[in-house]
């Protein structure tokens, strides 16, 4: 068993789908499910191995730094497992939700998006990282415009413009890196980066920050996110929040921790994270549309993750990873529930949700559950991750950041509870005879169970995240494993 399956199998499926589509459309819908079942088998087999000792998979038989190698360490193990889980749930949800033609193109794009984001997480080569970033990005642009309506095309074009800028910056950074160190393997670059002049190094870092900051929704480069999230079909919103953003923030953090571990960068990250979080939460407060609100909330949560990464101690990185994991699960659940709430109310507006809690109790329950979890109320998983982030930030003496995090949590609580109260406490308005499909409910149910489980046993997950956090912080071990396997 080898980690390359994570990339090869979804790709194989994407190439296979048009062939199968000639035979039967229903079969097409099943293929991603089969892929995800297989991938979870791979994940279960590899996880216990990778968590203890990184697996370095050489592609095409050429040793690093000459060939491209995949690095399946604890961090990659954790992220690929997360992507597989969320991908599976998204497929389940899409099963009845995506009814617009061309269905097989939707699943092809979806499979390639999974390929791209697992590729970002696994690869140990910067140019390969760029290729996978592009795969993810182009799939994301196309999926944003999938509904082919006015706003979708606009959002996608905006996303594409900003995304192209981002990829230009990343490519420039890679070229400048290569010109200075003459290698593309990340571990090899890390050993040689100290010979590069400081100004060049800082410039490369800025290019990477701008390029990957766009994809990971860092302020002020996140203008694409609210539009893309709200105009794409709901499962795609979950894909963005749960998979794409997580993969790109991983890439950014991996590069920063590996190559540019300056103290000032870390402070900069904390400041950027705080600004991102505050502005996003304040904007979320003002939104009239539910999906835009979720998008801004997602940006805010990423701000929190960036703060925790910026603090850069072992507990804080672990908390950041835990927060990423929780946010991926909960935000997917929220997008799923919001998708059907919008569908039933027939409007994207929050005001149209009045009294839907009585008409559609199960979907509304899931939404309320997700809202309470993301605010961070005690029995849910969101509480633990926020608590650990707060503790780790406080331990580093950044009390101003702690205060601002607490403040934005209050803001977050206000706007989420506003929606929940509209669902339940407003008078019943209209009823919709259409019912939420079982596959959608099952998808939300699975997420709810996982969130509950993590909420009751947070230490179980944290236990696995300790090696992942150590991997990110321990540069020497990464280089050793990546180069001399």
């Amino acid at each position: 068993m080898s980690p390359v399956h994570f990339i090869a199998i979804p790709l194989f499926a994407a190439f296979l789908i048009p062939l199968v589509g000639k035979v039967s459309k229903n079969l097409v819908k099943l293929i991603p499910g089969i892929v995800f079942l297989y991938l979870s088998y791979v994940a279960i087999t590899l996880f216990p191995i990778g968590i203890h000792k990184p697996i370095v998979e050489i592609i095409a038989g050429f040793k690093a730094p000459f060939g491209i190698s995949l690095y399946y360490g604890p961090l990659a193990a954790f992220l690929t497992t997360m992507i597989t889980l969320i991908g599976f749930v998204i497929w389940l949800y899409s099963y009845k939700f995506i009814i617009r033609e061309p269905i097989e193109k939707y699943y092809m794009l979806f499979m390639m998006l999974i390929t791209g984001s697992t590729g970002i997480v696994l690869t140990g080569d910067v140019f390969n990282l760029f290729v996978f970033l592009e795969i993810t990005a182009i799939a994301a642009y196309s999926l944003t415009a999938f509904l082919r309506d006015k706003d979708g095309a606009e959002a996608a074009f905006k996303y594409l413009l900003i995304g192209s800028f981002s990829s230009t910056f990343v490519l420039l950074a890679i070229v400048l890196l290569y010109a200075n160190v003459h290698t593309l393997n990340m571990a090899d670059i890390a050993t040689k980066i100290s010979s590069v002049p400081l100004t060049t190094r800082i410039f490369i870092l800025i290019l990477f920050l701008m390029g990957l900051g766009i994809e990971s929704e860092m302020f002020p480069l996140n203008g694409w996110a609210p539009d893309a999230y709200s105009q794409a079909p709901s499962p795609v919103g979950a894909v963005f929040g749960g998979i794409v953003v997580k993969a790109s923030i991983y890439a950014l953090m991996r590069l920063i921790y590996l190559m540019f571990e300056f103290q000032s960068v870390m402070h900069f990250l904390v400041i950027m994270g705080v600004i991102t979080m505050l502005i996003a939460e304040m904007s979320a407060m003002r939104q009239q549309q539910i999906k835009r609100m979720l998008a801004f909330s997602s940006i805010g949560q990423m701000g929190l993750v960036i703060i925790a990464f910026g603090v850069g101690t072992e507990p804080s990185v672990r908390a950041a990873l835990f927060q990423m994991f929780n946010h991926a699960l909960i935000k997917s659940l929220l997008f799923f529930a919001a998708g059907y709430l919008v569908f039933h109310s027939g409007s994207k507006k929050i005001s149209a949700l009045d009294g839907l809690g009585h008409d559609k109790p199960i979907t509304s329950f899931f939404f309320a559950f997700g809202a309470l979890a993301i605010i961070g109320l005690p029995p849910f998983s969101g509480f633990w991750s926020k608590l650990y982030v707060l503790l780790s930030v406080a331990n580093s003496g950044l009390f101003a950041a702690v205060a601002l995090i607490l403040f934005s949590s209050v803001v977050e609580a206000i706007y989420y509870l506003r929606v929940v109260s509209r669902l339940y406490f407003n008078t019943e308005v209209a009823t919709d005879v259409r019912r939420t499909p079982v596959s959608g409910l099952v998808a939300m149910g699975i997420l709810t169970l996982v969130i509950l489980f993590v909420g009751f046993y947070p230490n179980l997950v944290l236990h696995w995240m300790t090696p992942a956090a150590n991997e990110l912080l321990n540069k020497a071990a990464y280089i050793k494993a990546g180069l001399f396997h």
Binding site: I138, A145, D149, E154, A155, S164, L172, Y178, A179
Partner: protein
């Protein structure tokens, strides 16, 4: 050296077009000019004075006297990616024109920035 300057000028011209121009197709043209600039930059970085192309097509060519092949391989990949992005961008332009009957970014509501 002149290659570096040319490529930087190309990149800046492209970025200028993307930032300032109001026409959707002009913006996509800007993106492709940026790409061209980056590609020229990459190839110029791999260049070696008085060297040959990295192909051992006839006897007598030695590895010492060849240009760096890596940037060339990267540019090959990058050109294809650029084409793909251009194609998707233009299809979006067609869709937008379909909805709005205009290519002017100011008349398309949310695209302002």
């Amino acid at each position: 050296m002149i290659y570096f300057i040319t490529s930087v000028v190309l990149i800046l011209t492209g970025m200028y077009a993307v930032l300032v121009k109001k026409n959707l197709i002009k913006i996509v043209i800007g993106l492709s000019i940026i790409d061209s600039g980056v590609h020229l930059l990459m190839i110029a970085i791999g260049y070696v004075k008085n060297a040959t192309a990295p192909i051992f097509s006839k006897p007598g060519l030695t590895a010492d006297k060849m240009v760096d092949p890596v940037p060339q391989a990267l540019v090959l990949t990058s050109i294809v990616i650029g084409l793909a992005v251009t194609a998707v961008a233009l299809s979006l332009v067609i869709r937008l024109y379909d909805h709005h009957k205009t290519l002017d970014i100011n008349k398309i509501r949310k695209l302002k920035w």
